[in-house]
């Protein structure tokens, strides 16, 4: 049989499709996606002009004033009457709108990047750890850390009341004891809880007594509660629940409104706007990262890594983080668009950049009162600038989603 069979020397699978890496594949999809390319081009123009203007085109907002050229309509050619070219016209102080729009881009870019960085750094990490703790079994060390943390932070209340910082350390220690004695009286858990409760009450009451009997009473009651809580080592789910509950509180406010309210109390300023917009964005990334982690930890490759005994840190950063990056990247791109839009809204309400700093929203807010005089250019161009830069990031984010989403692969 083997004689009559002409065995070809290489039985290689030329049928198998050539291997392509995920990122290369994504990039190819991105550049073949027309809308994404338009977005990429718009974003590139926006970033280059903003950065270029900031570093290579001197502009001193405080000195920019020309009462002789107030509210001049766009001038494209030099003439007797208009000695200078203003392709976007001038505003109520005779400032060249084109110049201010280009320099305003730098501020928008800054706000976007800083705000998204704040949201991403805080929210992304919270969500990452919340999701991981929720799904993974904590090891001894992590449990100890968690319980010590809970003891310390809860203990801070009686410590503050009795002005005895040392007290909270004792509660932290109680948390550690709780983890390291899981079998101690475990079958008589009521007795165990009672012992922990009594110890907590004693800690509270003794330290409280230094200040006064009433303080001893209050601290004793609080200590009892903390002791009872600490008796049972908690799972990582508690951490996740606490984090997500706090996120829920932030999400209970419509995001715009919360940013406006924060800046209303902080006082106006570009930096304060960045912080407000960044804080408001935290829960979005926290939720996204958490749900992405939860879906990834059920995947076979993570289970496999766990089963061969890889450490938690290694699993988290080698197996989980790379696999949740794509939704985060998409959200961050869209988040830039959102931050620019929010910053403009704050600026428009007079809560963002402080005049005469060039900022698109503030430029609109300045000029719209002159609408009845027909100075359309003073509101048209800053608005278009906002719209196109936001649109650019949104188009790019949309294209990235299509490019990075493996579900869409045929």
């Amino acid at each position: 049989m083997t004689e009559t069979t002409p065995v070809l020397d290489d039985l290689t699978d030329f049928a198998v499709r050539e291997h392509r890496s995920l990122w290369l594949d994504a990039w190819r999809r991105l550049i073949s996606n027309r809308t994404a390319m338009i977005g990429l081009i718009v974003v590139t123009i926006f970033v280059l002009s903003a950065v270029g203007a900031h570093f290579f085109w001197q502009y001193d907002a405080k000195m920019d004033l020309d009462y002789g050229a107030k509210l001049v309509a766009p001038v494209l050619r030099v003439s007797e009457e208009f000695p200078e070219i203003h392709i976007f016209g001038t505003d109520k102080l005779g400032r060249d709108i084109f110049r201010r729009v280009v320099h305003g881009g730098w501020n928008s870019l800054r706000v976007g990047l800083v705000a998204v960085s704040i949201s991403l750094a805080i929210g992304g990490n919270l969500g990452l750890f919340a999701g991981f703790f929720e799904s993974a079994d904590l090891n001894r060390f992590e449990k100890t850390l968690l319980m010590a943390g809970i003891g310390l932070s809860l203990g801070a209340l009686p410590a503050w009341i009795a002005r005895q910082p040392f007290q909270s350390l004792l509660f932290g220690l109680l948390g550690i004891v709780s983890v390291s004695t899981p079998s101690f009286l475990a079958d008589k858990s009521k007795l165990r809880r009672l012992l922990f409760g009594i110890f907590g009450m004693l800690v509270g009451a003794i330290f409280g007594f230094i200040v006064g009997p009433m303080v001893a009473l209050v601290c004793g009651v609080i200590g009892l509660g903390i002791g009872l809580l600490l008796a049972k080592p908690v799972s990582g789910k508690v951490f996740s629940n606490i984090v997500m509950r706090i996120m829920d509180i932030i999400l209970s406010f419509p995001s715009y409104l919360l940013a406006i309210a924060i800046v209303a109390f902080l006082g106006p300023g570009l930096e304060k706007g960045m912080i407000a917009i960044g804080v408001v964005g935290i829960p979005i990334y926290a939720r996204l990262a958490r749900s992405a982690v939860l879906s990834v930890t059920q995947k076979e490759y993570v289970l496999a890594a766990q089963s061969v005994g890889e450490g938690h840190g290694r699993i988290l950063f080698k197996h989980i983080v790379p696999n949740i990056l794509s939704p985060i990247i998409v959200q961050a791109t869209m988040g830039l668009a959102n931050a620019i839009l929010s910053a403009a809204a704050l600026g428009f309400l007079g809560l963002g950049a402080i005049p005469p700093e060039p900022e698109w929203g503030a430029m609109l807010g300045d000029s719209y009162k002159y609408l009845s005089s027909g100075a359309w250019w003073a509101v048209l161009f800053p608005g278009l600038a906002i719209m196109f830069s936001v649109l650019g990031f949104n188009l790019l984010g949309d294209g990235l989603r299509d490019a990075l989403d493996p579900k869409m692969r045929v």
């Binding site: 009997p213 303080v215 509180i249 932030i250 209970s252 406010f253 409104l257 403009a344 929203g361 949309d398």
Partner: protein
């Protein structure tokens, strides 16, 4: 079902307390002495004292450990936050600093204006967004779909305050078709029943009043509706696309059902679940967007009120209205959850 609703209501309480805490903490963000910040540098000592009294600024923020040290247990709880929370429980949102009248009083006259605007905007978004979303999903990659996708992206990218300004420029300044702001022309009166002017004028058969109110509300409603429309369209489309990939849609087609029936009976009910969530979130964006829209169109609702109060540093108003909006937003999201349970048989109430 009743127990499910009750349980969901109870689960909202901790978040609600958290919200009051955040709003209470707002005033801690004020740089310097809050009383001086509210009244300005040249405030009279008497006024500063009044503000300190109203806010209990001489009390500690949360708990009074000094009082406790002296053995005064009730005094331990006599703090700014506790008394703020106690007032809230009695539906007391505080007083305006400058007008010195309860916030709730002004709210009564301002709130219906915002509700009317938000309802109309939401109605517009739903009427436009859902059918277009369904159609572009059904005709994926068609010209209609392409236009919808680009249009909705432009919709979420356009600053609504700028859109409002451009509308005023075109329709009020240049064409003079519509009034540039306000809720009614002077001289036009509508007998108040619900304080929703469109509804009241219809109820009383006041046609002149109705057209005037409609002319005033149309521009703010359109600009306020822009973002929700775009988002609802996109969500409906993508959710429909997901559902149309499902096997049960193929089953429905294999049964010989017409495309219309497959789309509206078999796909829409499934696709609608995520859309409802988005609609709930959009209610929040409408109420928040009202600050911008109402400011531009001088619409006498709570948004404009917040803006004026920010400028006048009338912080209690900002706090009160923010709290109110947050509570409404939470209730809407609760309703969304409940309607989920009603629409999806897989979710049980227990």
């Amino acid at each position: 079902m009743g127990r499910y609703i009750l349980r969901r209501l109870i689960s909202v309480i901790p978040t609600l307390i958290g919200v009051t805490l955040v709003i209470f903490l707002f005033q801690r963000l004020i740089p310097g002495d809050p009383a001086v910040a509210m009244l300005g540098e040249h405030a009279t000592a008497e006024n500063v004292a009044r503000i300190r009294e109203q806010f209990g600024l001489d009390k500690p923020a949360f708990l009074d450990r000094d009082a406790l040290a002296e053995g005064d247990l009730p005094g331990f709880f006599d703090s700014q936050y506790v008394s703020y929370f106690g007032r809230l429980l009695q539906f007391d949102l505080g007083d305006s600093i400058h007008r010195r009248i309860p916030i709730a009083e002004t709210l009564e006259e301002r709130f219906p204006a915002t509700v009317e605007l938000a309802l109309l905007a939401m109605g517009l978004s739903l009427i436009i967004g859902i059918p277009i979303g369904i159609l572009s999903a059904a005709r994926r990659n068609s010209i209609l779909d392409g236009t919808t996708m680009v249009g909705s992206l432009v919709g979420v990218s356009v600053p609504i305050f700028w859109l409002g300004i451009m509308e005023i420029m075109l329709f009020a300044v240049i064409l003079k078709w519509l009034p540039s702001g306000g809720r009614l022309s002077s001289g036009v009166a509508i007998e108040p029943i619900t304080n929703l002017l469109l509804l009241d004028s219809l109820l009383t058969g006041n046609w002149a009043g109705f057209t005037d109110a409609l002319k005033h509300i149309i521009m703010p409603a359109v600009s306020l509706a822009t973002i929700p429309t775009a988002i609802i369209t996109r969500m409906t489309r993508s959710s429909m696309l997901d559902v149309l990939q499902e096997d049960y849609i193929r089953t429905a087609s294999a049964k010989g059902l017409a495309e219309r029936v497959v789309l509206f009976r078999h796909a829409l009910k499934n696709a609608f679940l995520p859309v409802i969530t988005i609609i709930g979130i959009q209610v929040g964006s409408l109420l928040a967007g009202a600050v911008l829209t109402e400011t531009i169109f001088s619409w006498p609702g709570i948004g404009k009120w917040v803006y004026d109060s920010i400028l006048g540093r009338d912080y209690p108003i900002v706090q009160g209205v923010t709290l109110l909006i947050a509570i409404i937003f939470m209730l809407v999201n609760l309703l969304v959850d409940l309607s989920y349970a009603m629409l999806d048989p897989r979710i049980s109430y227990e």
